[in-house]
């Protein structure tokens, strides 16, 4: 299968914050923490052509995507999956990239 794996072993722990500093205007009292790992970052290790994914029914023409430019060309992520992951990271064309949603 051409599915890229999500990183495993992201055990939820609360973010370990320092006592500042804060960017001017940032009010840490309004920050509502979520246990790190509640939403697993999508670490992209494999990709396939979108054309191939469409031909094999892994996406439909109306599947909503988040499309970014990487050093190796355009890369699509499935919006419905990114609603959970929020973050995807990977490496393409010898350059790291990160997408957020």
């Amino acid at each position: 299968m051409m599915f890229a794996a999500v990183a495993v072993g992201q055990v939820p722990v609360m973010p370990q914050l320092t006592n500042g500093p804060a960017k001017p205007g940032f009010d840490i009292m309004r920050f509502s923490p979520t246990a790190v790992g509640t939403f697993e970052t999508f670490y992209v290790t494999q990709t396939e052509s979108l054309k191939n994914a469409l031909a094999h029914g892994r996406v439909a023409p109306d599947t909503r995507l988040l499309v970014i430019n990487t050093a190796a060309g355009r890369l699509a992520l499935i919006t419905e999956q990114m609603v959970y992951h929020h973050i995807a990271q990977g490496r393409a064309g010898n350059k790291e990239w990160m997408a957020t949603f």
Partner: protein, 247 residues
């Protein structure tokens, strides 16, 4: 965005909410980062940026292939739906899915314009800009000198395509009909109209199926300003005092 700091790869996760938006966190430096601008907001790396942000464009698969047939896709193991079928293996299915506000906000044709903010989000909001409805959808542009928000309703009122100026350059704001999503691209034109699903420019160029073509039908490169399809509250709190097109 670039997840490297001083040349070293860092690993980012969602660590919580601020201004109703999720916040990036990296355990290597215990820093909170704004996920729209990439700026460090709290912690030892305040003053640093994970930039440049780069554009993250929302569209459907058909439009993505129209624009670039060599587009790659990465699919995680998380459950999703395509063509009426459930795919993926990880996580629960159904509207709850434990995914928070984001899942409730998404419809099959894009973000839900009538979504209501989850109660957990509201205490994290700063002083809201009440010039527009909190959950309204729009296109936000930002550059070195300008922050400007284009309500989707206004873009439709202007016929789904119009020209504006951004830092001395002409920018086309238009609705991509296939994906029901607003977008912006720099052009050299004085007037824009729509016909069927095309955006026609008075210099003879046309945007057809998401692709900019010259008068001979030859594909032209598309240069886009930094943009985000977002809700008003998120853009207004990220860029306080932003201009609003049409106001």
């Amino acid at each position: 965005m670039v997840p490297t700091i001083d040349g070293k790869l860092h690993h980012f996760t969602n660590a919580g909410l601020y201004d109703g938006l999720f916040t990036l966190y990296n355990a290597e430096t215990h820093t909170l980062w704004n996920h729209v601008t990439g700026e460090a907001e709290y912690g030892p790396l305040v003053g640093r940026t994970l930039g440049p942000p780069g554009n993250e464009l929302q569209m459907n698969a058909k439009r993505a292939l129209d624009e670039d047939s060599s587009t790659q896709i990465a699919i995680s193991d998380r459950i999703y739906f395509a063509g009426g079928h459930q795919l993926g293996t990880a996580g629960a299915s159904g509207p709850a899915q434990g995914r928070g506000q984001g899942a409730a906000n998404q419809g099959t044709t894009g973000p839900n314009p009538n979504a209501v903010m989850n109660g957990r989000f509201t205490p994290t909001l700063g002083k809201e800009d009440l010039r527009r409805p909190r959950m309204e959808l729009g296109l936000g542009l930002w550059s070195a000198n300008t922050r400007r928000y284009y309500p989707t309703t206004t873009t439709r009122e202007y016929g789904g395509a119009f020209l504006d100026r951004l830092d001395g350059r002409t920018v086309l704001i238009y609705m991509d009909q296939a994906s029901n999503t607003p977008a912006a691209v720099y052009v050299k034109s004085a007037h824009a109209t729509t016909k069927d699903n095309d955006v026609l420019l008075d210099n003879g160029e046309v945007i057809r199926s998401g692709v900019l073509l010259d008068r001979a039908g030859k594909r032209l490169p598309m240069e886009r300003p930094q943009q985000i399809f977002t809700r008003w509250y998120g853009f207004a709190l990220t860029f306080p005092g932003t201009e609003i097109f049409g106001n």
